[in-house]
Symmetry: C2
Subunit: 322 residues, 2 copies
């Protein structure tokens, strides 16, 4: 029983070509501060015997509320100068799942995903229908202008000027993000996984998608099995990276399947998927994952991933670079 | 070389409580005729050395063009009296994939999914963005009224009168379809899998979703890994059934993972997922699947599934009941 009281929380704020030489001390401090705040919000729930699901929601909501990360307040603009967001959440104790896609008026898409999971018989709601459902459930609705930030709008202008239109991209993933933060490619999806004191695990992921994206492009974030998966029997996974590779490789569930069917450890399974399978396809990205025994990994095949971890026996740690 | 010239095509037109006693001879004949026409369209491509991808697109397009099946012309109505369709396609030789969701003006959503796969760097496009892309690629665009049929509109009225609103459903899958054809529950998604003469496999799935669905509910059909998956190394799968169960169980990819990681045969893998895992959760549905050696299965845990098969060595067979 004592042993089960251990909890752990891992978060990520996106992967990519995040290099120390392109980062100012102020900006680095701001990122680390927000990652810390996210871990504190999740830990606050876990240490009070709250559920893994509530902890990942709380941790992700903090990242959504920050303009630094590509989710919620910091969401990038699509080619129509709109912010369209996706999010998903999964409870490993029940396989219950919820997700929303292409929403533009919900302050915290991850909370809407949780409402879908808890209060609808469905898993995935899209667009204005999802917004209406979230509103009925009491989620905070905001004017689309809430999501405007100068820095994201500038990124869109640069993307448009340099022709970084997503549909011009054909396999060259170096140019795919059109997200010029730190002078490099960055996929800014945020996410969290947690193990709670009752031995349950959960995962959550939220994103603003790709700058200058066209035609209602949806990545892996709202897709259970691709961007998010959780099952007490195996693991909880939250992904970030070049979404199309995560969809066709069914990444989050693949880690679980390798554990369940091939009996790999969590670390070996995640490492194989990210650093072997995806890397061989030039699929940039990473993930955070945890199993019900508390084993965990933060695994990525890019120069950096905003990330952090805290546990009942270990203090908060936040990191950015390899 | 000779051996590789074998081709095979399997199709489905949905599962559910499809009982002979509720079917008229005329209606049964109409279903069997359309299934036959679908197989003929796909076989025409396969016997002329066409690709599995083109064959599954052609077979599904015939089912979409029929008012009998819940896809394309026969799509059911959502609670706003609109037809919102989803489709996906995957090429097992490359893992290339394409999908559209919540589209209402594309005559053949499966052809739009194929265009996304072939002519965009993305996999999943949503709503009006997907419609715009399909239009630019030359897909046939129709007025939403094209999808109106009396029988589907009547089904919506019955669903509304009996309170069969999807979000009132909470786990009772007997009432979940709100699709009263044949007096029983029916999930009318259509799909196909094929092996071509070059040894490549592919899968395609298309749906109108659930009658009276609300809030932009999306099922498994447009989700690679859930409703559709194809990989020459393992299998091509197209699913039909209660979408939420197929999403959280990542059904199409699960069949593949059981083959790749647990070394199950195609038939054992599909049987385990449909008749063990899903059945234990009261998750109604079925699938058609094929591997690159030509092994195949049509597997379902409901009283009936509209289905058919044809191969280079075997004539067309179409069936409805267990």
């Amino acid at each position: 029983m004592e042993e089960n009281k251990n909890y752990r929380l891992l978060i990520h704020g996106g992967v990519g070509t995040i290099l120390k030489e392109n980062m100012t001390a102020e900006k680095e401090a701001a990122y680390l501060k927000t990652l810390t705040k996210s871990l504190e919000a999740g830990e606050d729930i876990l240490k009070n015997n709250g559920s893994a699901v509530k902890a990942v929601e709380a941790a992700v909501a903090v990242l959504e509320d920050s303009p630094l990360f590509n989710a919620g307040k910091g969401a990038v603009f699509n080619s129509d100068e709109k912010n369209e967001m996706d999010a998903s959440i999964m409870d490993g104790s029940t396989l219950d799942s919820g997700a929303v896609l292409e929403v533009g008026t919900i302050k915290n898409p991850i909370s809407a995903a949780l409402e879908v999971m808890k209060h609808s018989p469905h898993i995935l709601l899209a667009g204005s229908g999802a917004e209406k459902f979230a509103d009925q459930q009491g989620c905070q609705i905001v004017d689309p202008s809430y999501f405007y930030t100068d820095s994201r709008f500038e990124q869109l202008q640069i993307a448009k000027e340099t022709g970084e239109v997503m549909l011009d991209h054909s396999g060259d993933n170096k140019s795919a993000a059109a997200n010029f933060e730190n002078g490099g490619t960055k996929f800014g999806t945020v996410g969290a996984v947690a193990l709670d004191a009752n031995g349950n695990i959960a995962s959550a992921t939220s994103t603003g998608g790709m700058t200058n994206k066209q035609f209602g492009r949806i990545g892996d974030t709202p897709i259970i099995g691709a961007g998010t998966y959780a099952n007490n029997k195996t693991c909880a996974v939250s992904c970030t990276g070049h979404g199309e590779f995560f969809i066709k490789n069914v990444v989050a569930y693949d880690v679980s399947a390798l554990m369940e069917y091939k009996e790999l450890s969590l670390i070996d399974a995640a490492n194989y998927v990210i650093n072997d399978k995806l890397k061989n396809q030039d699929g940039e990205g990473g993930l955070v994952a945890i199993d019900a025994k508390g084993n965990y990994t933060m695994c990525f095949n890019t120069p950096g991933m905003y990330r952090g971890i805290v546990g009942s026996e270990s203090p908060i740690e936040v990191e950015i670079y390899q």
